[in-house]
């Protein structure tokens, strides 16, 4: 079976990445799901919990070209996109592509840069191409952005507006490792060293196959009913300022399909939707009650909808 093959390959990827990022298998699976669903990933967590390592290891494992952009408050769009410089020998302008021309980009601490710099990246994410000095240049394929951001309560941040948050398929957080993983981390080798020796475990082009397999996952009418019911209740619930957009519904479905593929199925199940739902919608919904925890609110959303 083709699907079995895909699943085995995905399991291998997850196992491979788990050797570097310890005790975070679920998060690795979610990140991979996001990639399979051709979406971009936002990781929100405190500094030092392994956001960068996760991005790096994914790039390594999947054999993707990797670039890291550290966002700072004085970052300019040209620093991301690239710039044309006059070449004396050729008597003309020569374009020097910026770090955005890579397959997997880690946009580190994206909420520290000004909105201007943020939007340069976010537009690239949306369009899959960038326009510099009037010339449109395509970005490589696959093009996958992992952005990390500090929780907004940390000072010196420019929070991403809702419309830009919407460009990320999923938002996850890593959290602290459990005791066992932490011990292994403390006693083991330097992560940097391990990363250097890390080899890709799939061939170039196989990732595209996997992405194709994910989009081929079957969605039954019953599941569509469920997704629609979830969207509907989010629009009617008094807990949120506004409901989920149709784009959010598409994102939910794409993610559920990719997750189903990871679980070795050729069809999506309500459980798949339930698993990915908090990560897909939490950054797209604004709770009305200020003090509430987003995840807790979402949980009530899931609890309000019976599986049809």
């Amino acid at each position: 079976m083709q699907n079995n093959e895909s699943t085995q390959r995905l399991d291998a990827i997850v196992a491979h990445a788990s050797q570097v990022v310890l005790g975070k298998q679920h998060e690795i699976r979610l990140a991979l799901t996001c990639l399979l669903a051709r979406g971009h990933l936002l990781i929100e967590d405190l500094p030092g919990v392994g956001k960068t390592t996760l991005a790096h290891v994914l790039a390594q494992t999947l054999g993707l070209q990797y670039q890291r952009i550290q966002f700072t408050s004085d970052l300019l769009p040209a620093d991301i996109l690239g710039v044309s410089i006059f070449d004396k020998s050729e008597q003309g302008f020569h374009f020097h592509p910026g770090p955005v021309f890579a397959q997997l980009i880690l946009a580190d601490e994206v909420n520290r840069a000004t909105p201007k710099a943020q939007s340069a990246l976010l537009e690239a994410m949306e369009e899959g191409q960038v326009t510099i000095e009037g010339k449109t240049r395509p970005l490589p394929d696959p093009f996958f952005v992992i952005a990390t951001q500090n929780p907004t309560y940390q000072i010196g941040t420019f929070p991403l507006p809702e419309s830009q948050l919407d460009r990320f398929l999923m938002r996850i957080s890593l959290g602290y490792p459990d005791a066992e993983a932490e011990r292994a981390l403390l006693t083991g080798d330097d992560r940097r060293e391990i990363l250097k020796q890390h080899r890709a475990c799939i061939q170039p082009g196989q990732l595209a196959e996997l992405q194709q397999a994910a989009s081929n996952v079957h969605v039954a009418d019953a599941l569509l009913d469920y997704v629609q019911a979830l969207l509907d209740i989010s629009r009617r619930s008094p807990q949120f300022t506004h409901g989920l957009s149709p784009r959010a519904g598409l994102a939910l479905l794409r993610s559920a399909k990719a997750w189903a593929l990871m679980a070795g199925r050729d069809h999506a199940m309500p459980e798949d939707v339930q698993t990915v739902m908090p990560h897909v919608v939490s950054h797209r919904l604004q709770a009305v009650a200020e003090s509430s925890q987003g995840d807790k609110t979402l949980l009530t959303l899931l609890q309000d909808v019976a599986i049809p």
């Binding site: 050729d266 069809h267 509430s292």
Partner: protein
């Protein structure tokens, strides 16, 4: 900064408790205005204490202090009322104990108990006041309590507070059809459900069983409604509108009273005792509670309402004091003549106090000697009042000793009770049997509706004189005072109805005020008719009217219960149909139906699938619960999954699923 700290505290307080405290405070307020300070003050302090606790300013008292407070509460109630039972004391105890319960409201269960008791407090408020305002006000309180209930049953951190209020509103609106059904169809029990003990403090306004100078004039400024009348026949002439109340026969020089308040009932046989002429007035009186036993009717009643009797003096006396609104139909003949020639006992109507009114007696003798018969004497005395400078005033001078002489010969300024009193005195002094009658005179039509309002300010006193060959004749001595000697325009309109309108026309502001007051009275009247006084009789009338076409002309309580049950079933059925939506089930997936059967079988064993639980999660949980059936459970789940979620479901697969479910017996 201080303010934001306070807001923070409010935000962090438990919302259901804040709603509850607000609801309780509002529910208590009508009681607080009525209860003695000794009970009210501790309750308010306890309520505030709880509020400060909710805002984390104060701790709750420890157990020993709570015990002590309980004792103090009981003691305070005892001191304030001298008892712990009865309407007032009971409510006092309920309020103070409920406030004490707030001191130990920790568990969720306690909150439920307090909310329940809050609803009970709402009921107790209606023991005192059943006005439309109170009804609306209590609706607000109930809304707050239901909001507390919804906040109590929902996860607070994620629900904004207005959503709770909205939910409570929705719940109450949904409950409305059932409430209306219960209200109109639940069989009413004749008479009050329980008899409320008279607490002494609940004296009603209105006429009393005695009359002394000033007792009626104190009512003259009281605009509250005494009773309302709906006439089925044309209105009687203004000069016939005498609403007869207590008859007073005994005089002690200052006060008229009734020496035999419990006199035996006379048997009302219309034709033997008086002759009537003309057509009777048919009308329905809605009497406001006045805590006494008189029922008012036009002279002369030709029938008596149920649960009442007629006294020797033609007073209609209810068997129970009128403590709540009563409604009775009456028939009266305004043209009448007593046919009976002699009265059984003439002495009570000639009684006079021994040492008062010396001058008055002399005057009576003088005047009597001038004429030949008693009827002429009556006219002479009336002429005397009309000719001498007697004034009708609302502020009569205070007459200390011997009020009759002082009034007749010195002040000559008085209100109706002075004239009635003096007139009867003069009659009796000359040997003419006479008595004082109190009641109401006049009243006004509500121009916006079809009923007649009689107010406390219409209270009046007049007299009756017994004349041989004629019987008792009504004489109103105040009616002979000429218009120019009546000080107050309002009184003029009342005493001399034919003179009404002669005075200055009221300005437009007053006109609007009167219109509004009539509108308001009409609303009140409707409320009384349909809500407060919706009793056995009215229920009968209403339901018979409603179901007349269905062949019910007299509905008994069994039929009412049947109707009630049928109505409730109908409402519930509508709700059930809406919730279940069977028309949407028709195109239900057979695989889903088979799977639901499977879940049902497991749930009978206590393995309930949550509606939000996916089939895979449920299979995992169920296999853990029943490891020996795990193979079957997983098989069914796999077949269901393939049929419902996988691409290309097949008929064969469906049959396998259905067979597997059929064979799955727990």
């Amino acid at each position: 900064m201080n303010m934001s700290g306070f807001q923070q505290r409010v935000k962090q307080a438990k919302a259901e408790n804040l709603w509850l405290l607000a609801g309780l405070a509002l529910a208590f307020t009508p009681h607080f205005l009525r209860l003695p300070l000794l009970v009210m003050l501790p309750s308010i302090i306890l309520l505030c204490w709880r509020l400060l606790f909710e805002l984390r300013y104060l701790a709750l008292p420890p157990r020993t202090v709570r015990w002590l407070l309980t004792l103090v509460g009981i003691l305070a109630t005892w001191i304030a009322f001298g008892t712990l039972v009865g309407r007032q004391a009971g409510v006092g105890l309920l309020v103070i104990m409920l406030c004490l319960k707030l001191m130990e409201m920790n568990a969720q269960r306690d909150v439920g108990v307090v909310i329940g008791l809050g609803f009970f407090v709402v009921i107790t408020v209606f023991l005192f006041d059943q006005s439309i305002f109170m009804g609306l006000y209590m609706l607000l309180v109930v809304t707050l309590l239901v909001t507390a209930l919804t906040a109590f049953s929902r996860d607070q951190s994620v629900i904004p507070q207005w959503a709770n209020l909205q939910k409570a509103g929705a719940i109450l609106t949904q409950a409305l059809p059932l409430a209306l059904l219960l209200f109109f169809l639940f069989p009413r029990i004749p008479g009050p459900l329980w008899s409320l003990p008279a607490d002494g403090t609940s004296a009603g306004t209105g006429l009393s069983d005695s009359m002394s100078p000033g007792s009626i004039s104190q009512l003259s400024d009281n605009d509250s409604v005494a009773f309302r009348v709906q006439f089925d026949t044309p209105l009687p002439l203004p000069k016939k509108r005498y609403w007869r109340g207590p008859v007073l026969t005994q005089f002690d020089g200052r006060t008229w009273s009734n020496p035999y308040p419990q006199r035996h009932a006379i048997h009302l046989s219309m034709n033997s005792q008086y002759q009537v002429s003309g057509t009777p007035s048919l009308y329905t009186v809605t009497l406001e509670p006045h805590q006494q036993r008189w029922l008012f009717a036009l002279d002369l009643p030709a029938m008596i309402p149920p649960d009442s009797h007629l006294s020797d003096d033609y007073e209609i006396i209810a068997n129970q004091p009128v403590r709540q609104l009563v409604r009775y139909s009456m028939r009266s003949f305004t043209d009448y003549r007593l046919a009976k020639d002699d009265i059984p006992d003439i002495l009570p109507y000639l009684q006079l106090p021994a040492e008062s009114g010396i001058q008055a007696r002399q005057l009576a003798q003088q005047l009597r000697q001038k004429v030949t018969d008693n009827a002429a004497f009556v006219q002479t005395v009336l002429n005397y009042i009309a000719e001498q400078p007697f004034y009708y005033t609302r502020q009569p001078p205070l007459l200390l000793n011997d009020p009759v002489d002082a009034f007749l010969f010195n002040s000559r300024r008085g209100f109706c009770e002075h004239y009635a009193s003096a007139f009867v005195f003069l009659m009796r002094a000359a040997g003419v049997p006479a008595r004082v009658v109190t009641g109401y005179q006049g009243g006004e039509m509500n121009p916006q509706s079809d009923y007649f309002i009689v107010r406390q300010s219409d209270a009046h006193a007049w007299t009756e004189v017994w004349l041989r060959g004629e019987g008792w004749r009504r004489i109103d001595p105040t009616a002979v005072i000429p218009a120019e000697r009546i000080e107050n325009q309002q009184d003029l309109a009342r005493i001399l109805p034919e003179m009404a309108g002669a005075g200055a026309t009221p300005n437009w502001l007053k006109k609007i005020g009167r219109q509004l007051s009539f509108s308001w009275d009409r609303i009140n009247h409707t409320w009384n008719q349909w809500v407060v006084n919706y009793n056995t009789q009215r229920q009968q009338d209403f339901l018979s009217h409603m179901f007349a076409s269905a062949g019910f002309d007299n509905i008994n309580w069994q039929e009412m219960i049947s109707l009630l049950v049928a109505g409730m079933t109908l409402v519930m059925a509508v709700v059930a149909v809406y919730l279940l939506r069977p028309w949407q089930r028709q195109n239900q997936d057979p695989a889903q139906m088979a799977y639901e059967r499977f879940c049902q079988r497991l749930s009978r064993r206590g393995m309930q699938r949550q509606p939000t639980e996916g089939p895979l999660d449920f299979a995992r949980r169920a296999s853990q619960q029943y490891p020996q059936r795990a193979r079957e459970i997983n098989n069914i789940t796999a077949l269901y999954e393939r049929q419902r979620y996988a691409p290309c479901p097949t008929q064969g697969n469906l049959q396998r699923l259905q067979r597997a479910v059929r064979d799955f017996i727990v």
